[in-house]
């Protein structure tokens, strides 16, 4: 097992290096640089040259990448070109905020989707199954932009004003305030992700419920509750675990739209900012964090598989 973990970690590291190279090339292919975007329509040839020299953008491409890589190896994650601060100082808060939002959304999704999916599987083909499936479809088929807007206009609008429209508050501002800012974005994400997990749970369970060993369990006289809880769920949940792991990656960086709509300072908004400003060092680190989250979440899901299903062995 130790060998397996080491091999997976190594391959993840390799993937991350490849990603950093792709991002670096992609940004250089785009027209303009951080300097042209900062100076905009006030640029003069001299000011542009001076700023590019100051930012180190006048060096050849390979040297720029090598310098960045060298920094990373020695623990220096670089300076943001647009914010002019150490990348680590900027990323910390965003990472915490995204993790918080992701945590809330995932827990909510798991708590709602798994029981509902189980219920739908047990009532397969009946009206309750249909209602649950249709309901979850609405969540996933409406773009999160629209869901977020509707929630803002209805729940944060001047008439009801149950929650703030967005933004975030530190825990120091009080538990209520802190939580109130998280409700609407977390709710939006929950509505979007519900269908993924719910449908995986349902289909996984439906398959297992028809299997021979469940029939055996029923035949030996086990109660239906015991059959579902002890025998079926453990196997039926496997696909849902993978989906939850992938959702975690999505929540840590893919939720640009939700973070923009709710003016929530997280990783997604930071990545968008870095792209818009051609801020290569900031973009590199942000993308790598998200990519690493995806990779390690997947890895964790694989390990969880082994735990849920002792037949699975990794070499």
């Amino acid at each position: 097992v130790a060998f397996y973990v080491a091999r997976r970690t190594l391959s993840i590291a390799l993937v991350l290096v490849l990603i950093s190279l792709i991002v670096f090339v992609a940004i250089h292919v785009l027209p303009g640089s951080a300097a042209t975007l900062i100076l905009g329509e006030y640029a003069t040839p001299e000011s542009l040259r001076a700023l590019e020299r100051d930012m180190g953008l006048d060096r050849p491409f390979v040297l720029q990448y090598a310098a960045w890589m060298g920094g990373v190896v020695t623990g220096d994650w670089g300076y943001s070109l647009a914010m002019k601060q150490p990348v680590t100082a900027i990323v910390g808060l965003r990472l915490r905020n995204s993790a918080l939002l992701a945590g809330f959304a995932l827990v909510a999704v798991a708590l709602i989707a798994v029981p509902l999916g189980t219920l739908a599987a047990l009532r397969r083909g009946r009206w309750l199954d249909l209602a649950i499936l249709t309901g979850s479809y609405i969540g996933i088929s409406v773009p999160e932009f629209v869901t977020g807007m509707v929630l803002i206009l209805v729940l944060a609008g001047p008439s009801l004003h149950l929650f703030p429209t967005g933004d975030y508050a530190p825990l120091a501002a009080g538990l209520r305030t802190w939580l109130s800012h998280l409700v609407l974005p977390a709710l939006t994400l929950t509505l979007v992700l519900l269908a993924h997990v719910l449908r995986q749970t349902r289909s996984g369970l439906v398959e297992v419920l028809q299997s021979a060993y469940v029939r055996t369990a029923r035949l030996k006289g086990a109660t239906e509750r015991r059959v579902v809880a002890r025998h079926a769920l453990r196997n039926g949940l496997l696909p849902a675990v993978t989906v939850i792991a992938l959702d975690l990656g999505y929540l840590m960086g893919g939720i640009v739209v939700v973070e923009e709509v709710f003016a929530y300072p997280g990783m997604g908004r930071l990545i968008l900012y870095a792209i818009q400003n051609r801020d290569v060092p900031l973009l590199q680190v942000s993308i790598l964090i998200v990519a690493a989250t995806y990779a390690f979440a997947n890895f964790a899901a694989d390990l969880a598989y082994a735990w849920l299903d002792p037949r699975i062995r990794y070499q």
Partner: protein, 525 residues
């Protein structure tokens, strides 16, 4: 249970209208002052983008300029009437015909770090900006400074390469905020720390998201500011920004679109603020090659524009009609010329004369932001069609526009904000060396460019007025730009925010005398 005097007043005198007089007779003037007190509270402002850095030497966006206005002082400042008034400098005077400018500093002004502001700080700040290694984006804007010297503890002298009548106005620019010497050693640290003397000091800065500043008790204007704190928060999505404003999560919504503006205007208790300024979008017609090297073709296109309709369609009629030159009535040297009215017959005749009786086809490229660029190009296309202009409009992302279109000698739509003086915007637009000459017009109009140089180098106001008036006429009739209107700056606030005036340079947001009435949500913090 403890029962405070305030609770007592609230419970006994509510609704009776007796609170103030009763308080005065019962407790004397101290409580009365607390009732109608201007002091205290947090003002929460929203904007939609910017706020990457608070380094005054390097910042570039309106939101950033706004924040450093609260943290720092300049030598001079531009008031809402667009007059240059004292700030850190109490007085100033020109010598050697405007080639030398001497500023006398106010005594006893404190930096937030607890030290007096002296001439050396101003000198060090200016030298940092001028140092090419600093790569300050707006270095070119502050004038042809040759050297800066501290004559004594409170006197700063600038020596310029050429006389420059508007120099004191350049000291109002955001790039010219005076930074304490201690802060200039590490310019990278200045991105998130402040070394100012302004009415507020920094409490929290989250780049790209928000800045919070708090009252500086030792500010040089004693008793000011009234506010305890100010927060500027970025809401990338305008609908969210508006909803937050309507729900009183923010008190002031800054720089809004005409759409949002009319929504603010329709909200009871909210004040929609529109202030005319000098912000415009211009269609650039490269005048060094066909077809626009023929001034008749340029003029023909200018005659197709129905300026009133265009302003109404793009900016909800909030603005001032313009005459194809960049000087609005917000500037001192604005010359009132007869306004060009649309005349398709004349446009057709001019085109025929120029040998284009069969019509002209060309392409205008526009950046996707701000939207006014595309709007203007598309409306121009329709308005010019009947006269024989066949315009193709191409929309590009901003980065591609900068790299491939901007200042490359092709037709496109530029966008310029209000500058401190007419000279700044005129030089930027028309001067081939100190500006960009995007219209490639200067080589064929050396006389006109000469007028601009003379006007900035003389201190004789009457002569300057004459020269600028002459130039505006030439630019209107012959110039390489179509400038249909100046759009007003639009913002909104709740009525409980008092004594707030919007500057035509809307980032010059002076909050020193702004206060909140007792019914503001964050009067008490």
């Amino acid at each position: 249970m403890t029962y405070s005097r305030r609770d007592f007043l609230r419970s006994t005198a509510i609704g009776a209208g007796l609170a103030a007089p009763l308080a005065q007779t019962l407790f004397g003037p101290s409580v009365a002052r607390a009732q109608g007190d201007k002091h205290g509270g947090t003002l929460r402002i929203s904007a939609t983008f910017g706020l990457s850095t608070i380094n005054p030497v390097a910042h570039i966006s309106g939101a950033e300029w706004m924040a450093t206005r609260w943290l720092y002082n300049n030598l001079t400042r531009l008031n809402v009437k667009r007059e240059v008034v004292p700030d850190l400098a109490e007085s100033w005077a020109a010598s050697e015909g405007g080639r030398m400018w001497t500023f006398k500093l106010r005594r006893g002004v404190q930096f937030h770090i607890g030290r007096e502001v002296v001439a050396d700080d101003a000198v060090a700040t200016m030298q940092t900006i001028l140092d090419p290694k600093t790569a300050s984006p707006y270095r070119g804007e502050i004038g042809p400074i040759e050297r800066v010297d501290a004559i004594d503890k409170y006197t700063v002298r600038f020596t310029l390469r050429a006389p420059f009548a508007d120099f004191p106005a350049m000291m109002t620019l955001p790039v010219a905020r005076i930074v304490a010497r201690e802060g200039l050693g590490d310019l990278k640290a200045l991105a998130a720390k402040e070394f100012g003397s302004g009415p507020f000091r920094l409490r929290e800065f989250v780049p790209g998201d928000r800045v919070t500043v708090e009252r500086f008790p030792s500010y040089y204007r004693s008793g000011l500011p009234y506010l305890d704190a100010v927060t500027l928060k970025i809401f990338p999505e305008p609908t969210t920004e508006l909803t937050a404003f309507k729900g009183k999560e923010t008190d002031l919504i800054w720089d809004v679109s005409p759409d949002l503006f009319s929504q603010v205007a329709g909200t009871p208790g909210a004040d929609a603020m529109a202030v005319p300024g000098g912000t415009f979008a211009n269609v650039i017609l490269p005048s060094d090659k066909p077809p626009f090297n023929d001034s008749r073709v340029r003029e023909a296109l200018k005659y197709t524009v129905d300026r009133t309709k265009m302003l109404a369609a793009i900016h909800g009629a909030h603005g001032e009609l313009a005459n194809d030159h960049p000087v609005s009535s917000a500037y001192t040297f604005y010359a009132q010329l007869p306004l060009r009215t649309p005349d398709l017959g004349k446009a057709k005749a001019l085109l025929r004369e120029a040998g284009h009786g069969g019509g002209i086809s060309f392409k205008i490229s526009v950046a996707a932001s701000p939207p006014i660029r595309e709007q203007m190009a598309v409306i121009l296309k329709e308005m010019a069609k009947p006269a024989g202009f066949n315009i193709d409009v191409e929309v590009l992302p901003y980065d591609r526009y900068l790299a491939q279109v901007w200042n490359k000698g092709v037709p496109y739509v530029g966008f310029y904000a209000t500058r401190p003086t007419a000279d700044t915007i005129l030089m930027k637009l028309y001067h081939p060396k100190d500006g960009l000459d995007e219209g490639r017009w200067a080589p064929s109009h050396a006389e006109a460019v000469k007028m601009l140089e003379q006007a900035r180098e003389t201190l004789d106001v009457a002569q300057r007025r004459r020269l600028y008036a002459q130039f505006q006429k030439v630019a209107r009739d012959d110039g390489p730009f179509i400038i249909p209107f100046f759009r007003s700056e639009l913002s909104g606030k709740w009525a409980y925010v008092r004594d707030f005036r919007l500057n035509p340079s809307n980032f010059e947001m002076d909050l020193e005398e702004v206060w909140l009435t007792a019914d503001a949500p964050r009067k008490k913090t």
